[in-house]
Amino acid sequence: MIRFLFKGLLRDRNRSLLPILVVTAGVSLTVLLHCYITGVLGDMIEFSAKYTSGHVKIMTHAYAENKNQVPNDLALLEINDLISNLQIDYPTMEFVQRINFGGLLDTPDENGETKKQGIVAGIAVDLISENSEEIDRLNIRSSLRKGRLPEKPNEVLISDEFANKLEVKPGGTVTLITSTMYGGMSIQNFTVAGTIEFGVQMMDRSGMIADITGVQNAMDMNDACGEILGFLDSPNYDDIEAMNVENTFNDKYSDPNDEFSPVMTRLKNDSIMAGYFDYVDSFVGIIVAVFILAMSIVLWNTGLIGGLRRYGEVGVRLAIGEEKGHIYRSMIYEAILIGIVGSFFGTLIGLGFSYWIQEVGIDIGDMMKSSKMMIPSVFRANITTPAYYLGFIPGLFSVVLGTMLSGIGIYKRKTASLFKELET
């Protein structure tokens, strides 16, 4: 009997090929969407890692507690020793120094008097060391609008908009007025090497990127910095690895009773990011749920139509003495088979496309007028383990549900009225 039904399934394309195609299409979309969303959200996480949080971040306990105020008076000290030690403890990782700072930026006229002035939000990174990867990491080169990259510690980049407001051009001088680490006043001249576009309003209004040594000099922060960001050797954030680093670091270097001792937090524990991760998970869940629902409706209809077309078959099978339950079950088995085959091919196709988007990426750079520093221009999919099985959930669920619902229609009906319907 089973062989017989299987033969029928293979021969009746409306019963096999059509639903399999629907499942394949739905499943491949689910898989593709999952990989794409995981990729895009992963890119965003990575983006945040590069600019603010690192995969892991080291601060002093005191700085960490007030980090919204950027309290550079609570900065990490003796960081060169610390970083050397970290390179030994975690040889595959990269650690970089960052100082976030605020203050006033002044453009002097020919007499040295203030011509224009504005509040500045600055990031100090290693722009000059030969082996520094910060320029690439922060996408600085391609977002340069005017001038060139800094070559000396006292050269800076400021946002294009800010430069216009301050009426300063590349080669011009700006004066940074801020406080030193010890609370004294700091006034330091910098040369504007070039201008950049951040792509984020707040930063475009008042942003500045300076070399770390230049800022350390200006703020009296020799061998000190606000934050050390650590980057793992993998292209995507690996929370387990990060947690491992976080734990071992804190065991070795951190002393909760000393507020100036360093403490490490991993990206996922960064307050903003924590919610973000949950968001990623629930977002993926919602997508899958929507697909299950949509596909179920489509397949339910396919199943219903199939079921109606098979009234004759059901009638004959009842007449030859097959039990209703047996007929119903065989239809469910058929659905499971179709679901598995469709999901298999759907997953294969979905993974294929995802792999392509993962490797090549969708470059929206051409669509934007020009690359901006803080806006990613290439979106990539990311194939994670769930992508291999996730599609089977809507794939199987929808056909089986569709068949069950349409089957109940047949099953519930009185045998006799089924035959009455056969007559017409």
Binding site: D12, V316, E323, K324, A416
Partner: protein
Amino acid sequence: MENSEIVTVKDLIKRYPIGKGEFTALNGIDLTFGTGEFAGIVGPSGSGKTTLLNIIGSLDIPTEGSVVVLGKSIRELNHKQAALLRRKHMGFIFQTFNLLPVYTVYENVEFPLLLLKLSAAEKKKAVMDSLEWLGLTDKMKSRPAQLSGGECQRVAIARAMVKKPELVLADEPTANLDSENSHHILQTMENLNKDLQTTFIFATHDDKVIKYLKRKILIEDGKVSADDVITN
């Protein structure tokens, strides 16, 4: 020949719920059929022929009264037992043939045997015999779509006959056939009735069928109004 009773219907009443009320389709039927009969339930459309045939075929249950088929009381059978009764002892022929389009003639005829525990050789022999009775041997690899209406109904008869059932129930078997084909299939069934002692009960209002019947039971408004044995 017609010694043992195969179907006994006593005081059969069948009511269908319609809206809030009920509709009485069969209103006190008393009938017996003996083994080897070639009988027809005859009457105008809506008189209750199909209803009666379905109850005899255990596809429907009586509201009141008793129907005993091959020693089994239809009212007391559960789904499984009714299915078993049909599987082992009954063949059905429908007005609309109800062949399965994706299967060949051979496979359509083989279908009822799949639920019975037969060896491959037994199955093959039964199918080939049945195809031969109906003159379909040369069509056994065709699909129903490639056959004429008459040929389709012959396949349906072959399917009903393949397990050599004691009882064949045929509901308007000629309604979709022209007169030549109607006569042809009735002659075939007449021969099967003679050769295999199979009991045939028809439901029909077609004169072409009525001509062949050995017994004509007229029902009107859910009641038997005449029951004639035809001798010729």
